[in-house]
Symmetry: C3
Subunit: 138 residues, 3 copies
């Protein structure tokens, strides 16, 4: 069986990190799937999905690490050619990827105690973001 | 139901980025699957699969970022021990991973407007590359 | 059909890299699944799962690259706020992600000759680590 749902999140850009575990859990519980795989997929090319301990310090550290990997104020060919000013966003998204899969066991996400699923908006402005949650299982 | 297909791509190495969305879409449409999960998996240890806006500037920016993370001309233990000269390729591949999953909804990949699936060859020479596309669904 | 198994690994921290391909293959062969998708998921927020050529030099190069991305001896907000001393571990885990999916074809993992599935422990101490292996297929 396969169940899919579209979610919309309002984000603020510049590495805004949103905890989305609860809304995924809600969808899982509304389905009849007890065992299978949940995939969380962002439909934007300037986003990432990952898992992190949702603690203020860790979030800041992750943002700092991404700023080191692809700084906001650096030269990007994308900005020169397209003028969008979000070259850093595309690089961060390609490196982190907009997709993540988590097993479901006995009707629950197989997350550890401190693991939270997060959506990261790498863009340089406020946006409405579309995320697909899909469950394949039985 | 599960469908798998082997694809072969000719690549040029040194962060050559190939758009492979169309060939995956073709395979999906030839299957009878309407809803499920597509996984794209490269069978080489010097490759990566990701999603990116396929725009000349972004591709160059991504290549520059990877060159910063694991420079071609740096010291690698792999090169010292094995003499392959592609230590940078293995590091980039382990960090980016050779696998990616995308939901299928109503017979279509759930990609956003600007999202393209790409194969990145991190190696230091021309090669034929094997990629498995697999669809699990109904 | 969906099969899941819990695995426990003893790890040493500080980017300890464990090859876990064999134990996943063993579980796959004990199931009746011939075609489908295996997901390997670590239930800790200071771990990563990836694929790498398991060669002494490559492993060292990967450890060096991660040390450059999120150095052990750097300032982390997580350490300031929580005092755990493992801020670098959380950053590395969020960037690398604790999940990986590999296709199964004709009862075998679709890995290339040199590809090995590895668990990486980013933490700063010895631990018992829990990994979920799940197979969805037919």
């Amino acid at each position: 069986m396969v169940y899919s749902k579209q979610l919309i999140f309002r984000t603020e850009g510049y590495c805004h990190i949103l905890k989305i575990t609860e809304v995924i859990t809600d969808f899982l519980q509304s389905s009849s799937i007890r065992n299978g795989l949940v995939t969380i997929f962002s439909r934007g090319s300037t986003c990432g999905i990952t898992i992190v301990e949702y603690e203020e310090g860790v979030l800041k550290d992750l943002q700092n690490a991404l700023e080191k990997i692809a700084p906001v104020n650096s030269f990007y060919e994308h900005d020169r050619l397209q003028g969008d000013g979000n070259g850093f966003s595309h690089v961060r998204s390609a490196l982190m990827k907009p997709t993540l899969s988590v097993p479901v066991i006995d009707g629950e996400l197989a997350l550890g105690t401190w693991q939270e699923i997060v959506f990261i908006d790498f863009d340089n402005r406020n946006r409405d973001r579309e995320v697909i949650v899909q469950i394949v299982g039985e």
